[in-house]
Symmetry: C2
Subunit: 661 residues, 2 copies
């Protein structure tokens, strides 16, 4: 709907440039005539067109369908197939050289994936075999649907931890393991549904609200929580608290001193030291990545042999025990769709879904940026979501692109997602034939593997950089860190997101206003605070508002601008300068305006006029100009109320002030 489309106002025009040449020598030491340009309205569009544009910017900012334009129907069909299953994009060009790379990297990540799968399943309080199942089906599905070439798919530590903590708060995994497993699978199902619908509805930007600062604090807190949980296995304690917070865990640790097993502690910490050393070596020399990649499997093999040899001498070492042989059993009958715990399963699914999604997308983007290709966030979400839905029907719990696996995969030279297929095949062989070998694998070695994996999540350098650069970001980081440590994992995350959102709102409700001055010898006007050479123009107060003018800040801006005027008048009086005649509002950074904002502009004009001060606008941007025009705010400003630049406003008004002193 276009209102008043036929009305031609006297102060705006859609046609060619109309310029007025005026002679001005003060105040800008410029002797050539300065042209005065008109501020234009953007081309008029219908409401439908605007809506379409807005919606396409919100939901399709990456223009995913651009390749489909101007193609034949048949080409479009193939493009669609390739779009939906990226495997068809690279499969035709796949060759033996690529396979060689993928084979090496696939086997490398498999050697990491098997102990990690078992360990992370224990982190989620699930049977260890579920971790192996989760390293088999989801990677196969991802390799069909995913667009990242370097992601290594599998269970991830944060989602495992959160699932474990959220579910075990209500349901005991020791007393009712079947219900617990059912809920875990159901949560996985809902995580998948949530992830794929975010992708399908193109709402992927929701995960952008987890800012880097929030994630740094959250990851560090979660890493500490996870590591503390592992003390149970490392100290060989039988009766440990099921709580996750730092205080009950440490209390429990020292209350159960009589359960400490010195043999477990000795061997456990030796393996931990070995793993940490291996990690350290790989961090120092990235081409020795295989040291840290092979260390977990080596530790598992060594510790299993050790425990097997000591089996008759030491009884107190907890071991994994019997693991069932065979591939993933179907589990769609295990999904729990009605009953008192449904809400818990949905909630757990949402939280683990968003966390694993964040890790998966971040990992995909990181490695894509390194190799200079792009991953489509929304498509990745659908791939991860579908992989989790399929996983929940085949005895897998929440999986995603894992940071540690992907890093190893990338360093081992993976070229395509075939490395995931290789890894899945290796896991399949393990599931079919090698399960009995894990009977004597001790729990402490799994704990060591987990600690080594999560310790890398504590990024104190990033936290220090946050402190150095942005104190409020650092506060968000600390809040999520301490929230996770002392309150609970989802609540800590919630607090951090809330702080990030409040930070945005605070920025919007208290925007900066700057006084501008002229940089001598130019037509440039800049903040007098930043540019000390910038000079104030006598009789003028030039203010720049650095934010949209919204309901949330319109009252503040009105009062703040009036205070600027009051302070300027006081300053002028103190310095006995020329009296203030005109206030110029530079609207360059006012990128949007709403009804409250327009009232403010109109109100300010009236109030300043009552004090015999001229009030003009400089450079209103397209949509602001359009709205001011539609709401008839500009009419009282008259012919000379809106200028293209501050310089033109100053030149024009000062020449008219000279003629009417």
């Amino acid at each position: 709907m276009v209102l008043n489309s036929n009305r031609v106002d006297h102060f705006v025009c859609h046609g060619t440039t109309t310029t007025i040449k005026i002679q001005t020598d003060i105040p800008m030491q410029q002797t050539t005539p300065l042209e005065i340009h008109k501020v234009r309205l953007p081309p008029q569009h219908t409401t439908f067109h605007k809506l379409k544009h807005t919606l396409s910017e919100i939901f399709f900012p990456d223009d995913p369908l651009s390749t489909f334009k101007n193609q034949t129907c048949c080409t479009n069909f193939f493009l669609a197939i390739q779009y939906l299953f990226p495997i068809f994009q690279w499969a035709p060009h796949y060759n033996l050289l690529l396979l060689r790379h993928d084979l090496i990297s696939g086997l490398t990540i498999a050697s990491l994936a098997i102990p990690q799968g078992i360990s992370y399943a224990k982190l989620a309080n699930l049977p260890p075999i579920i971790g192996l199942y989760s390293s088999f089906v989801p990677p196969l599905i991802y390799s069909l649907l995913g667009s990242s070439k370097h992601i290594g798919v599998g269970p991830v530590s944060i989602a495992s931890l959160v699932m474990g903590s959220m579910l075990s708060e209500t349901v005991s995994y020791t007393q009712d393991p079947v219900l617990y497993l059912k809920l875990a699978l159901t949560a996985t199902f809902f995580a998948g549904v949530f992830q794929s619908s975010l992708g399908f509805l193109r709402l992927g930007f929701v995960i952008d609200f987890l800012s880097k600062a929030t994630l740094v604090g959250f990851m560090a807190g979660a890493a500490i929580i996870v590591s503390l949980q592992q003390l149970k296995a490392l100290f060989g304690i039988m009766h440990f608290t099921t709580k996750m917070q730092i205080i009950p865990v440490l209390t429990s640790l020292f209350m159960q001193k009589d359960e400490w097993s010195w043999q477990t502690i000795l061997i456990g910490f030796s393996f931990l030291a070995f793993l940490l050393t291996a990690r350290h070596i790989s961090l120092r020399k990235p081409n020795l990545f295989w040291v840290s990649a092979a260390a977990p499997l080596t530790s598992v093999i060594l510790s299993t042999i050790l425990v097997f040899l000591l089996r008759n001498k030491v009884h107190k070492i907890a071991i994994i025990g019997e693991l069932p042989k065979g591939v993933n059993p179907p589990s769609s009958n295990m999904l729990y769709f009605n009953g008192p715990y449904l809400a818990l399963a949905i909630k757990t699914g949402l939280v683990t879904g968003i966390l694993s999604l964040t890790e998966g997308i971040a990992v995909g983007r990181t490695f894509a940026a390194l190799k200079n290709y792009q991953v489509d966030g929304n498509k990745e979400m659908m791939a991860i979501g579908l992989m989790n839905i399929a996983g929940s029907c085949s005895s897998c719990y929440v999986t995603s692109g894992s940071f540690s696996r992907s890093a190893v995969n990338y360093n081992a030279g993976a070229q395509t997602t075939v490395s995931n297929i290789i890894m899945a095949s290796a896991v399949l062989v393990t599931l079919l034939f090698l399960m009995p070998l894990f009977y004597y694998t001790p729990n402490f070695v799994l704990a060591s593997i987990i600690i080594t994996a999560v310790i890398g999540l504590i990024d104190y350098q990033a936290a220090y950089k946050l402190w150095k650069v942005d104190k409020l970001d650092c506060l968000a980081c600390l809040c999520s860190f301490f929230g996770v440590l002392f309150i609970s994992v989802p609540l800590g995350l919630g607090i951090a997101v809330a702080i990030s959102v409040i930070k945005i709102l605070l920025h919007v409700s208290r925007p900066n206003t700057q006084v501008l001055g002229n940089i001598p010898g130019t037509l440039i006007f800049r903040n007098v605070n930043q540019y000390r050479e910038a000079l104030r123009i006598p009789s003028f107060l030039i203010l720049a508002v650095e934010s949209p003018i919204y309901f949330a800040n319109s009252t503040y801006l009105q009062e703040r601008i009036l205070r600027w005027v009051r302070e300027e008048e006081e300053r002028i009086e103190a310095n006995k300068e020329n009296t203030l005649k005109c206030i110029i509002l530079d609207m360059t950074a006012v990128t949007a305006i709403d009804t409250n904002g327009m009232d403010t502009v109109s109100e300010l004009r009236k109030m300043l006029e009552k004090r015999s001060l001229q009030f003009v606008l400089a450079n209103p941007v397209g949509n602001v100009m359009e709205k001011l025009h539609e709401a008839n705010i500009l009419e009282p400003f008259g012919l000379k109320g809106v200028y293209l630049t501050v310089a033109e406003a100053v030149a024009d008004i000062s020449s008219s002030l000279k003629t009417q002193p």
Copy 2:
């Protein structure tokens, strides 16, 4: 803490202007040499200084203590007294002329206040006498503390309605009137505490989040809800639903057809017509304001006499009945501080507190703007809050600056808050001597008064303007309107606030990026979409980001900018123009940046460099420049990576492109 304060970087300097004169004739048809200016860092401040500045902008934007500077101790004491009790500012200059004006306006609003007080108390399901009590104590306290000269204090319709609806959802006012009254007084107490602490903590900006659009919809919805409730009295129905939503109320109205009293309907609608006519006259001719001001009292008197005369003939007309004589009894012993309904009382207090505060502050600001004086929002909040705390201890329920009373007060020529004292005195006389006269006052006349008062809240013209100017604002308005009508009053308000906040977040997460072009013959660069005369510079892509670069939009902006580059390259290829060499990012409207944003800038530079495209920044503002500098993002940009204006960047880079083709 200032880090690296001694480091002098090669690309920024704090000293005097260093300019480089270069000769450029293309592409801006300029033959004079263009100076290249350096972008400066703002003056360095300590973290403490920055924090102090930020906090003072958040909490003291109006610099309330400015008058206290450079004064003697004794003067400061008097100023403080005047600051806390504005009555001391004007009392010394008070004279008989002012008193004459205040006397007339005070008596006028008293004639409105008495029937309105009784009516609004019924709206809150409270005994009518509470409404009169509330028109006695709070105005007296406000006249001591308040800074607005024109506010008429008393119960307000929206807060009365919300209190009535929220409390009666849980507690029946017919079955347990004492508990209901206790809860109402407690809610008033908490409303006062909340209001005064908002003012004391200088968090007054919280009410700015109720945007005009939200309020327009909310008020209209509430007005309809209130009017529908009055149908009970106007139709003379005895058994009416206690629900507030439109559907149960209309259902109840037509289900109870057999209870309709034709006499009540006839007389009731006659009085309603009379009141609406009086309102219409005053709206048309503002100097006939006394017609609508006197109409309620006239109606009350006429209807009371009528019912008194008909008392033996018609029995079905509901009347107020016995009202206790005497001034406000103390009620601090009625406050309900522990028990199952405490949470309800607190919640009701918060919602009614914020609603009455919004009305009070808006009214104060409106009339202050008309008479060109300022009210201090935070101080007003303290005044309104303290008045409600005191009110809750003297049998008053929530009061505020009422829009209808203030309008009448202003039109009747009120000069100071003495008019409130006069009104309170008139109410006192009523309370002491005139209460028996109200025995026969019929309920339908109170219903008519309420309908006439609230009908003015339906501002369909404002809603139409919203639709015309801002579709999203209009959506927020409609949501709060329908939310109030069909769901519930607090929930409707909540939905509307949520939409307003989501609108801000959406704007932040999907900011505009614009392509800039040169306006021929000038150094000005503007959006090519808005200015059709603006020309793109060959080999350059100049983009302006219209928002801070935040965690919420950094991913989007990175992808969007890469898409702009891709599209520009496609366009160039199609038109066989010069290849793209350089991307200039105009940062004028990038008013803030966080760690995610800085990573984006750095990442973009790396990605574009890999494609052999130069990437430079133009005009980063003070704090953005400071952060980029502190985070060492600018170092890889080198000596020629940050320019003061787009024009200088284009001139400098195109001259260097010419020398190295």
